[in-house]
């Protein structure tokens, strides 16, 4: 039964991807991309990767769809047919290239270990150590969280800095005109009674769920990345319904920008405190007299830093895009 579901989901993924190639209406393409994200999230659940599925569902099906839609509202809905007739050879050439590359890659898979085998090289190097020792060294049941925040803390620090940088990049490119004059709301969703009431009930629950995912991440699927995205989606929902001006009253620009930096700073400071206490950077053993308690404290703080940065960067990105599209709508 499980392998049946497995094959069906993978086939649906391929079908959706082919549909994305064929469809010219970019609105439909965006929706298909959302479906693609949700399907891959379901596939990740099937592969025991609950943490990943969480993130993909929130990001692939939620936020990325929203961002593309906001961009479409500025750039137009339909993909134009190519104007130059001599460009017709391109699809054939590309198809040939893609087929050859694909064939070579499939030839390459012959050397890969079969799916799901326990003695594959990927399972035998560092992973047994994580699975066997993390219970005594870190003391939390979710191995994904202990690797993410402790064993590979350097990596995660890098990722958080990348996300922060991307947020700054979006701000640098899109802020210039957007912040100069107050944005006048043109159309609001708040006339829709059902939408307004239902989401007012939903928003607190979404936030509560995000906090649960954040602080329960050590014991079950969850953690800073997922919680950040879910937390941001509550604000995004609010902004979509009641307009950007209203949402800015709750979280103003300066506050989210400060918070996005604060998360990175919190992460870095935990590392520095460990250094001051005599350990190396991000070695949580030194945060407390008892190494396991130190690890728990370190992971809690680090995940909090990740959550704050991810949530604020997502809010910044969405608000900046929306402000820009409203400016574009006015000048038309």
């Amino acid at each position: 039964m499980e392998s049946f579901v497995h094959v069906v989901i993978l086939s649906m993924l391929v079908t959706t991807a082919i549909a994305i190639v064929r469809v010219k209406d970019l609105f439909a393409v965006t929706m298909l991309a959302g479906i693609y994200g949700l399907l891959s999230a379901s596939f990740f659940v099937l592969m025991d990767a609950h943490d990943v599925a969480f993130t993909e569902a929130a990001v692939g099906a939620g936020i990325s769809t929203l961002l593309i839609l906001t961009t479409l509202s500025m750039t137009g809905r339909f993909e134009k047919a190519s104007v130059k007739p001599q460009a017709d050879y391109r699809p054939l050439l590309a198809l040939a290239l893609v087929t050859v590359t694909g064939a070579l890659l499939i030839y390459g898979t012959q050397d890969m270990p079969g799916f799901g085998t326990a003695d594959a090289p990927v399972q035998t190097h560092v992973v047994p150590r994580y699975l066997n020792d993390s219970a005594t060294e870190i003391g939390i049941p979710n191995v994904v969280a202990s690797i993410l925040a402790s064993y590979r803390g350097y990596d995660t620090f890098g990722e958080v800095v990348v996300i922060f940088t991307a947020g700054i990049g979006v701000l640098a490119m899109m802020m210039s005109k957007a912040s100069s004059t107050p944005v006048v709301q043109t159309s609001l969703m708040s006339d829709h009674v059902v939408l307004r009431i239902v989401s007012k009930m939903l928003i607190p629950l979404i936030m509560l769920f995000a906090l649960y995912v954040q602080f329960h991440g050590e014991y079950g699927p969850g953690g800073g990345f997922q919680a950040g995205v879910i937390f941001a989606s509550a604000f995004i929902l609010y902004a979509m319904l009641f307009g950007l001006t209203e949402a800015r009253k709750v979280v103003n620009n300066t506050l989210v920008q400060l918070l996005s930096a604060l998360g990175v700073l919190l992460y870095g400071s935990v590392g520095v405190v460990a250094m001051i206490n005599g350990g190396s950077f991000l070695d949580y053993d030194f945060l407390s007299a008892d190494p396991v308690a130190g690890q728990m404290l370190g992971i809690l703080l680090v995940e909090l830093g990740v959550g704050i940065t991810v949530a604020s960067v997502m809010i910044i990105i969405f608000f900046t895009f929306t402000a820009r599209s409203q400016k574009a709508g006015e000048s038309d």
Binding site: L13, M47, D48, F115, Q123, V143, I163, P221
Partner: protein, 117 residues
């Protein structure tokens, strides 16, 4: 599930090539970015498939369970997804600026305008 063998990896390659085809062939910059997302997700699927062990369970330690799927690939992909959306957002921001500068997001029209200038 023995018969699945390398099926996952073949699907991954098909998806990857579809994404690659969109990136090369599509004239529209937004569609190119969506193609890039498909390409990226196919890599995620590959990593997660590699980490799965048949009969294993999610890597949250519990009593009475001895076989867990690989947590390391999960960590790598989990962070990659969030970094992926951040970079996609940056790409979309560039597309918006291109649209403001050129009035179009179609690649050939942008090239034509560049030649005129």
């Amino acid at each position: 599930m023995e018969f699945l063998g390398l099926f996952n990896y073949w699907v991954v390659i098909v998806l990857m090539m579809i994404g690659f085809y969109i990136v090369i062939c599509s004239n529209n910059l937004i569609k190119k970015l969506i193609g890039l997302t498909i390409f990226q997700t196919s890599v995620f699927i590959m990593y997660i498939s590699m980490g799965k062990i048949i009969g294993g369970t999610a890597p949250v330690l519990a009593e009475g369970i001895t076989l867990y799927s690989n947590p390391l690939t999960h960590v790598l992909i989990l962070t990659a997804i969030v970094v992926g959306i951040a970079t996609t957002a940056l790409g979309l921001a560039i597309v918006v600026r291109i649209h403001e500068g050129y009035g179009t997001v179609e690649e050939d029209e942008i090239h034509a305008k560049d030649k005129q200038a």
